[in-house]
Each structure stands twice: as structure tokens, then as C-alpha cells.
Subunit: 372 residues, 2 copies
């Protein structure tokens, strides 16, 4: 199947918030639908930490995307009406420049010589792409999980460039529980001798560290409630078990194993470290004299939909409520939806019925493109 | 300071539930107070996975124990009235026989040649100690966390030997979230190249794996709520930070680090694996034709106090409720206390005010020793 990705070259040098600059950096993105002559129907979608820009199938790449049920003709984000763009974050490894990319100066992979990355850098890169696409004002900026934090950064750094916003299962800043989990994931990777200070290759790869990091991720992306119903204490067939006396014995263990196996070699460990740390660093309060509420009040948009689920332990629903309250105080018309999906943080990827309905209703309520 | 531990020799061979037997195995324990002539004032305390038998200070070892605020003269478990025994679980490494012990047959440490360990084996060993102490019937059996599961096993295997029971932050069986966490802790240890199939020494020690396992433990022993209040996004002083670009930066990370540092070399990694797996295996439903409720109905005691906290994510409060319901249906007088401690699973070690008050009131309600 053909790659539907397109590449946007960022200005070179591209200076970074915490110092340093990237040379000849690129952003990978995909698009669906057509931009209206007025350029007033663009929706930018910012994914979580790990997915690529392939959010949905299309003519060039018909394989299902990570938000296949949400984006497409007649779907909640209707590509017959909207021009939809999905970006792979700066620092990721799915086509955009990140630690796995070759540094044009040294002609070697950056590794941890990649400059400190913040979500503000990713936001600035996104906005540069929008400039290149001649989109003066997004009809809607959609951010999921880490992408939701990048979206907040983008609206803070580029006022007036976003008309409406959909905030999904994200946070205005990381709280200690989320920091602790992410810090432990990073430590597991760094403690793997094969990580080797960030210089690894396919033959010497920090597989053990990535396994632990991913499994810990999956545990915190879901909810205890869902798993109790789904796995209970079901055991694996004895012939599916390994000889190892401590091998997986319960169904929940083999579920984690399958997730880890799919992920470990498909995501760059250093990208994981950089984006994970960027998520810990991001803090709306930096824009509001130390106050999250005041930082959010500086975001000027017209409409917002804020969605979270009450079983999310990584981005708890109180944090979505804080975003909704802040945007409302800033003057936006805000819908807040606390969904009772059992799937925890991952619900936006899985419970597309509930999320899709909320997104569809919100987008339907916005002014029709071409009528502004 | 002098060691207050006493050692009880188990019958040799000591056959194990899942096969195999231990030779010349011992249990380490400590006692406080005096056994009454009628031997009717004995309270046995079973700790969680990691603490030793040193639950409280005493004449021989005046250092503070892990439940110092709960056990002692005039304290909630009043040693002027009760004869208190605390046992280090079979399979642990604080004086009792476990994988770090030398196998008298091979004259080498057991390592993972130690037979499969279940909490039923630990319960049987405890009961053997009580026989040796000529305690026909415990006035009260207190079990915390893993020790709470061992206590359930002990009452199921040895009916009529326990008069009253205090169940603290435990479960009648592990649910998938707890299994997933423990499985990941075990995997982190086993993936450490220095674990080396269970044969390590001080110079080649699975320190990285133990660090991850312990930090993950501490994360799940506490609650997000408590941490948000306690650590917020407080950062370490820049001079407390290491040069490593991914070193700890937030207070919550250095808190985890301090916990890991204290634990890693003080607990045997193989003991951790064995007791962790035993906790996953334990299931009251095995005693009730596949039903937890039916299993619990086979426990015949007179009084019970069941305590849990609603911020515990590892042993959720619904599981304490199930224990209380089951014991009540079995005919016991049951008090159920759902405490609103913010400290999660660890609350019984920290929020000794709330736990102490509940324990004191319950023990005061029992018949006075010597009056039965």
C-alpha cells in the first residue's frame, strides 16, 4: 500500500523553546477532504503520543487509521464538509523529525543529542504548516491526550488562529501520578543496558525497557473496572503457557504481552523519552502567573467541546473540568462532556460511539463553512 | 541492637500445596505481652509482602516497628492485655525460610528451585507455630494486605482455631488490575540480566529490576489524590538534580527514588517473585465451588472487623465489602469500615489514627480474656 504521508519542511534553523535549533526539520501529515476556497473548513487533529498521522483511510492509503470510526465521509468529523489534517508531532518517529532522524550537521542519528523538546515546539511547527497551507484560521483544533496539551500550547502561542477547539482526555498540566508513571516508563527504558545512552540499533535494542514502558502504559490507559469485567481471573490454556515458572498464566497478562509485542519495535525509544518528558513539562500555569485557571483564560476561541471519561486515571476528569471552566471564563461557549466509558484513558480510541456522537453534535453546531 | 526474633522449626519434610516439600524450614516471629494461663489472649498479626516480624518495639529490640503506633502498651492492640505474635511469612527473607535460604539438601541457596509457594503453605506454617505455642484458639487473627489473604487461607484450612478476625485492605482473590501490576513487577525483575534465572549475588544483583518493581509498587500503594496535594508540580532544587538529561526533576520522582533505594537491597528479589505470584494465585473461590461468596461462607468465626479505604486501587473497597458480606453470611458479627483515608493501599501503615481507632473499638468489644 502507498504511503499517504505528505511532508512539510520547517524553516531552518527552527529554534527550540529550551535552546538549540533544528536544521532542515520536517513534519509528516495526512489530509482528507478538500480545503474550501475561503480556507474556512480546516480541522487539525493532534494525536496522542504514539499514533502516526494516519488517522483514517483514504484514496492513497486504504488501510484503517487510528481514528477510522471518527474521520471520513459521513462520519463524526465529516470529510465531505471539512478539510481534515492530522500531524505527526515534532519529535515523534512516524515521518516527522525526531531523535531517530539523521542530524544533517553530523550526518548521524540525533539520539539524545536532539535538543530538549517541548510541546510548545511541536505547536509552533504545527502552526507553521498551517501557514504554508494558507489556513489563516482553523475551523477547529482537535487534540487528544498529549495532542490535547499541544493544542492548548498552540492556542496560547498563536492567538486568533483557532475558531473552535475539541479537547479530548487531556490536561492543562501533568499531576504527580501521571508524572510518576511516565518517569517510571522512561527509567525502564534508560535502565535497559541496550539503551546505551540513546545509541542503539536493531541488533542492540532496548527491548526489555520498551516492554515494561508499554505494558505500564497499557495498564494506566485502561480501567480496573473494564478489566475485571473483561478478564476476571480467566487463565490461559495450559498449552499456551511457556515452561518458564513465572510465565504469563492469566488472560490479562497475555493481553499486555500482545500489546507490548506490537509496540516495542514500532516506536523509537528515544522519541518516547522526549515526548514523555515534554508531557511532564507542559504547564498552562506558565502562561498565567503560576495559575492554570489564569493561563486558560488567555485562550480566546469561540466554541469548545471538552470531553473526558470518569475512569481515566492518567488524565482525571477533574482536569477536563478545569479546562472547560477556564475556556468558559475566557469567553468561549463550552460544552463539557464527562462520559461514563469504562475504557479509561483509551476510551477515545475505543468507545467511538460515545465520543463520535459528542464530536458530531458539536461540529454540527458550528457555523457552516462558507457562511462566516 | 539485639535481634528480638524467635525461630520456629517446621516439621521436616513440610509438604507444599502444589508439590515438593521443604526440609528443616523455619518461621521467624516476634512476640509482645504475655500469654494468659488460659492461652485465650493471643493475637496473630500477618504483615503485607515486605515487612518483617518486627511490628513494634520491645524490650529486646527498641527500634520502631512497622506498626509501632498500633501495637504496644496502651495502644490499639494493647500488649498489656493481649499476647501479640507477628510472623514473617514463609517464603519471605526476614528470617523465615525462602528462596534466599540455603537448601539443606544441596547446601546451596534455593533460588527458583524453591518449590512453588502458595499463601496456603504460609497459613499452614503459621498454624503449626500456634500449635507449638499451645494456642488452641486465637483470640484474633489480624491480616494486612497479602497477610489478609493468608489469614483467609488460615481460617479456611483450620476451622475452629480463630475466634475473631481483623481484615485490613486485602482481597478474597486478585482482580486483573492487581494481577497486571504484580505481573509487570515480576517481569521487570526477570528481565534484568543480573537476575540470571534467580542465581545472583551482591556483586551481580538485579538492582534495575528491583528499582522498577518497587517504584511501581509505591505508585500503586498510594493515591493520585494524596500525591496531588502533597507534591503538586514541585520541582527539585537544581543542585539536587543530576547531570543526566532525563534525571529526576519533580519532587514525586525523588520520593519514589528514596523508596526504591531503601528497598532494593533489603528484600530478596526471588522472595518478591514467589510471594507476588502467590498473591495472584490465592482465590477464596477455590473453597466455594468457584464462588467467592460461597468460599467466604465456609469461614466460621464469631466476630470480624473488615477495614479498607476508598482510595485503594490495588485492593479496591468493593473487595473488602465482599469479605464483610461473606463473613456475615457465614454467621459472624461483622463491622465494616470504609475509611476515607487519602493514602490508598498504604493507609493502614500511615493513617494509624483512623485504623487505630477502628481496631481499638473492635478489640474492646471482644470478650475479656479469662472470662470465656
Amino acid at each position: 500500500m502507498t504511503d499517504a504521508r505528505r511532508y512539510h519542511r520547517l524553516p531552518s534553523p527552527f529554534p527550540m523553546k529550551r535552546g538549540g535549533a533544528l536544521q532542515e526539520a520536517t513534519l509528516a501529515y495526512e489530509t482528507w477532504g478538500a480545503l474550501s476556497p475561503e480556507a474556512d473548513n480546516a480541522i487539525l487533529v493532534l494525536p496522542g503520543l504514539s499514533p502516526s498521522a494516519h488517522a483514517a483511510s483514504g484514496d492513497i492509503d486504504p488501510s484503517a487509521g487510528w481514528w477510522e470510526e471518527i474521520i471520513g465521509p459521513g462520519k463524526p468529523i465529516d470529510t465531505q464538509r471539512w478539510y481534515v489534517i492530522c500531524v505527526n508531532s515534532l519529535g515523534s518517529c512516524k515521518g516527522s523529525t525526531g531523535p531517530a532522524s539523521v542530524d544533517p550537521v553530523s550526518a548521524k542519528p540525533y539520539g539524545i543529542r536532539f535538543p530538549d523538546l517541548t510541546l510548545e515546539d511541536a505547536a509552533k511547527a504545527n502552526q507553521h504548516l498551517l501557514d504554508a497551507l494558507a489556513i489563516k484560521r482553523l475551523a477547529c483544533l482537535v487534540g487528544c491526550s498529549m495532542g490535547g496539551m499541544t493544542a492548548l500550547a498552540q492556542m496560547l502561542l498563536h492567538p486568533g488562529r483557532t475558531r473552535a477547539h475539541i479537547s479530548i482526555s487531556t490536561a492543562p498540566q501533568a499531576q504527580p501520578f501521571a508524572i510518576a508513571i511516565r518517569s517510571l516508563q522512561r527509567e525502564a527504558i534508560r535502565l535497559d543496558p541496550n539503551w546505551n545512552g540513546g545509541d542503539y540499533d536493531d541488533a542492540h535494542y532496548p527491548e526489555a525497557g520498551m516492554r515494561i514502558a508499554r505494558k505500564l502504559g497499557v495498564i494506566t490507559y485502561r480501567s480496573a473496572l473494564e478489566w475485571s469485567g473483561r478478564f476476571s481471573r480467566i487463565r490461559l490454556d495450559s498449552d499456551a503457557r511457556q515452561e518458564d515458572p513465572f510465565a504469563a498464566e492469566f488472560a490479562v497478562e497475555s493481553y499486555l504481552e500482545a500489546h507490548a509485542r506490537r509496540f516495542v519495535r514500532s516506536y523509537d525509544p528515544n522519541s518516547y523519552l522526549y515526548l514523555s518528558r515534554a508531557s511532564d513539562w507542559f504547564d498552562v500555569a506558565e502562561y498565567g502567573n503560576g495559575s492554570v485557571a489564569e493561563g486558560l483564560r488567555r485562550i480566546c476561541i469561540e466554541d469548545a467541546l471538552v470531553i473526558g471519561v470518569d475512569t481515566d486515571i492518567l488524565f482525571p476528569i477533574e482536569q477536563q473540568q478545569a479546562i472547560a471552566d477556564g475556556l468558559r471564563e475566557a469567553g468561549a461557549r463550552v460544552r463539557f462532556e464527562a462520559l461514563d466509558s469504562p475504557q479509561g484513558h483509551d476510551a477515545f480510541l475505543v468507545d467511538t460511539q460515545r465520543f463520535g456522537a459528542a464530536i458530531r453534535a458539536f461540529l454540527d453546531s458550528l457555523p457552516k463553512p462558507g457562511t462566516a
